[in-house]
């Protein structure tokens, strides 16, 4: 009797041990799955941003469909996941996710929603009106540069100076220096700005560039490049090539 009692209790002990082991294995599997899922949030989005009337929707349709369409102001963002069409017709490029944000002042802030998954940003500027609107352009560019994700992940930015075929277009060197001067002024005023209600980011961390030198885009950790182009002309000029190369390189 005692032996059977012993085996019974032993049997119970092994059963309990088995149950505990099962639970541990389950927990381990769940933890592994969770960790893997977190790692697999791939950043594969490319944003097209810029002021209204810069040519962002035209750029989007050219990238996606390869044709130039007539456009008006966008009210909602155009979003698409598609393989990037390259020059030779047979090979299709990698799949990219491109988002074209509306340029309206009230909708611009939406770029912050896409920031955690952004791989690269194409900032489109209208070369003909940039001299007049340099404050608005610089402010938008500043907001993009100062975003904590952009700073932390060093997201590369390609500045597309559109409409270079028009008479009044400035060349990209001039645009670059205009923007640098404006951002130089902006960073001091923004750093001294009054704290807003839901702002718990430390404004001192956002200071772009080096303090005692005038601001230059080279001071930023993000790789920045300026490329002039004309998105409406049908031929595959350098501009659209540059954008495609930019995206392709990053999508790899």
């Amino acid at each position: 009797m005692s032996t059977s009692g012993n085996t019974a209790s032993e049997g119970q002990a092994t059963l309990v041990l088995l149950a505990v082991l099962c639970v541990l294995i389950c927990l381990g599997v769940i933890a592994l799955v969770v960790i893997l899922k977190k790692k697999s949030v791939r950043r594969d989005t490319f944003l097209i941003a810029g002021l209204s009337d810069a040519g962002k929707t035209v750029l989007y349709t050219r990238l996606r469909y390869g044709k130039v369409v007539e456009t008006r102001r966008s009210m909602v963002e155009n979003e698409g996941r598609f393989p990037l069409s390259s020059d030779d017709e047979d090979s299709r490029g990698p799949m990219v996710h491109v988002v074209d944000l509306p340029g309206h002042e009230k909708l611009r802030f939406r770029f912050a929603d896409f920031m955690p998954v952004t791989r690269g940003i194409a900032f489109v500027i209208d070369s003909t009106t940039v001299a007049r609107n340099v404050r608005d352009v610089a402010e938008y560019l500043y907001d993009v540069l100062v975003n904590p994700h952009v700073q932390k992940l060093e997201i590369p930015i390609l500045v597309v100076c559109n409409k270079k075929d028009m008479l009044l277009a400035l060349n990209e060197e001039k645009i670059r220096s205009l923007l640098e001067a404006e951002i130089d002024r902006l960073r001091t005023t923004r750093a001294a700005a009054v704290e807003s209600q839901d702002d718990d980011r430390n404004r001192a961390d956002e200071f772009l560039g080096y303090e005692n030198e005038t601001f230059k885009f080279e001071h930023l950790p993000n790789p920045m490049s300026f490329v002039p182009c004309s998105l409406i002309s049908e031929d595959n000029g350098d501009g659209i090539h540059a954008v495609k190369d930019f995206i392709q390189e990053l999508a790899r």
Partner: protein
């Protein structure tokens, strides 16, 4: 007579456009999108259903009318000259909307098909269809503009023949009067000098017929030598004496709100319970009801709840109605003006009608999301709020930067003025405070104390006070203050005004000066 007609996606791609003038500029459409559809300009959105009201949106010399199709994300726009008065544009817009959707509904859902089709001219055949629609709309409008026959006027109804014919035709008259009143209402704008009399006589006529029948029951008034006779006192007494004077029992009056009596015999009112507020939230989830046109049979209780939760359905106005009503009431209870609350609810409804909500989203969440985005849009400033940048720009052009503090009485204008003054001083700017509050006693002294303390806070800070005592014209003082700042090289002028309510017209007019 139209200038342009366009169909574009919400993302900005033009699907089909036709312009009747050689130089069609994109300005009115861009302006429409900028101010109304995104900028939520209230004046142009009266009318609901995603359409402009009878007046549409006016920009320069054009009038713009539009219609939204939320399920495919498409906007239909018609532009014509403001001075023309075209009565058929509303019907044209509706038929335009419907015909285009019917014709191209297969390709509209897919953006790729649309854009690729654009190059091949997929939408080109629509021009002839559109011309037909315009002609049809013009013809319908002309038909309703025909002058009425004598039989239809009020003068006929007053003749003997008209009276004789009216009573037996009372039931027949109803449908025709509704139709003709709609026709009258739609045709009254172009024939306004005549129409005002005509349009108002039509509904009056339809209301006269039941009234005549009713008066017959009361009998004609009796006049005794030109004065109302005394015998007709009972006839003239229309008060309701049938109900007795029984006092209503107090139970029904007070009911469950009756408080308690304490030991001393004093009456203790009932305390407010916080449980009332929680019930509101539970009640909302019951508003997920299946769409009445849903052909699926209703399942058993538990599974129908799951089905509602997981299936995605298209929203219609009736589905949204109860939720929007609750939302509007809630806003008004929280002291939002009634007009603004209804405008906000209308814009949320327009944005949601026809959309499909994803699975696992309740109606309430969808409405909340839409409301959040609408509020974010309204509250996002359209221009930059970088004050320091503006001040430096003004400094560069050698003029002082002015900030005027306005608000209702007692919100903290003078206090915030001194706080902002402190911030400006920290940024090494020279400030002039103009005391234009000449109404409240002690306002000038308050500012003097603030200025003195601020000056004492830091070495080398420049804060001056500009005042002209009490009772003077504030606008004049402000003008002099700005002049003074210019000559003495102050960077910023802070103007403090008296508190005023926004509906106090003379004070608001003074502020405009």
């Amino acid at each position: 007579m139209l200038d342009q007609a366009t169909v574009l996606t919400k993302g900005g791609i033009v699907l089909w456009s036709h312009s009747y003038t050689p130089s069609a500029s994109p300005a009115p459409i861009d302006s429409l999108i900028r101010s109304v559809l995104v900028g939520e300009q209230a004046s142009a959105r009266v009318g609901g259903e995603g359409k402009g009201d009878a007046e549409g949106y006016v920009k320069d010399s054009w009038r713009v009318k539009w219609s939204l199709a939320n399920d495919v994300g498409v906007v239909f726009v018609i532009v014509y000259q403001k001075i023309l008065h075209l009565p058929y544009t509303d019907t044209l817009l509706e038929s335009f909307h419907k015909t285009f959707l019917d014709r191209y509904k297969d390709s509209l859902g897919d953006e790729r098909a649309c854009v690729m089709g654009l190059g091949e001219g997929a939408f080109d055949g629509f021009e002839d269809v559109f011309e037909d629609l315009v002609r049809e709309a013009e013809r319908t409008a002309k038909r309703t503009q025909k002058p009425r026959t004598f039989q239809e006027t009020a003068a006929y109804a007053n003749t003997v023949a008209g009276q004789r014919n009216e009573k037996p035709n009372a039931t027949d008259a109803k449908p025709t009067t509704v139709e003709s009143s709609i026709a009258a209402a739609s045709s009254s704008p172009p024939s306004s000098p005549r129409g005002r009399g005509g349009g108002s006589s039509k509904p009056a006529e339809s209301s006269q017929s039941p009234k005549m029948g009713g008066k017959g029951g009361r009998g004609p008034r009796v006049w005794d030598h030109g004065m109302p006779g005394t015998a007709s006192q009972e006839q003239l007494d229309f008060s309701d004496t049938k109900e007795g004077d029984d006092a209503v029992v107090s139970e029904a009056l007070v009911g469950t709100s009756l408080g308690q009596r304490t030991a001393d015999g004093l009456y203790d009112a009932l305390e407010l319970d916080d449980n009332e507020y929680e019930e509101e939230d539970e009640g909302d989830d019951s508003s997920i009801v299946p769409n009445s046109t849903d052909p699926k049979p209703s399942k058993t209780g538990l599974f129908s709840f799951l089905h509602n939760l997981t299936s995605s359905k298209t929203l219609s106005k009736e589905d949204l109605e109860p939720t929007m009503l609750k939302m509007r009431e809630h806003l008004i209870n929280k002291n939002v003006a009634a007009e603004i609350a209804s405008h906000l609810c209308d814009s949320v409804t327009t944005g949601l009608v026809g959309q499909q909500i994803a699975a696992f989203t309740s109606l309430r969440t969808a409405v909340k999301q839409q409301m959040e985005s609408a509020l974010k849009r309204i509250l996002t400033p359209a221009s930059s709020t970088d004050v320091l940048r503006d001040i430096f720009a003004a400094k560069a052009s050698n003029r002082p930067y002015t900030i005027v503090f306005v608000g209702v009485n007692g919100v903290g204008k003078s206090t915030n003025l001194s706080k902002i003054c402190f911030w400006l001083l920290q940024n090494k700017l020279k400030v002039l405070i103009a005391a234009c509050d000449t109404f409240r006693s002690g306002a000038v002294e308050q500012l003097r104390v603030h200025a003195r303390n601020l000056m004492a806070l830091e070495e080398g800070s420049v804060v001056d006070l500009f005042d002209r005592g009490y009772g003077k014209d504030p606008a004049g003082i402000a003008k002099d203050a700005i002049q003074f700042a210019k000559t003495n090289h102050h960077d910023v002028v802070l103007i403090d005004t008296a508190g005023r309510m926004q509906d106090n017209e003379p004070l608001m007019r003074a502020l405009a000066k």
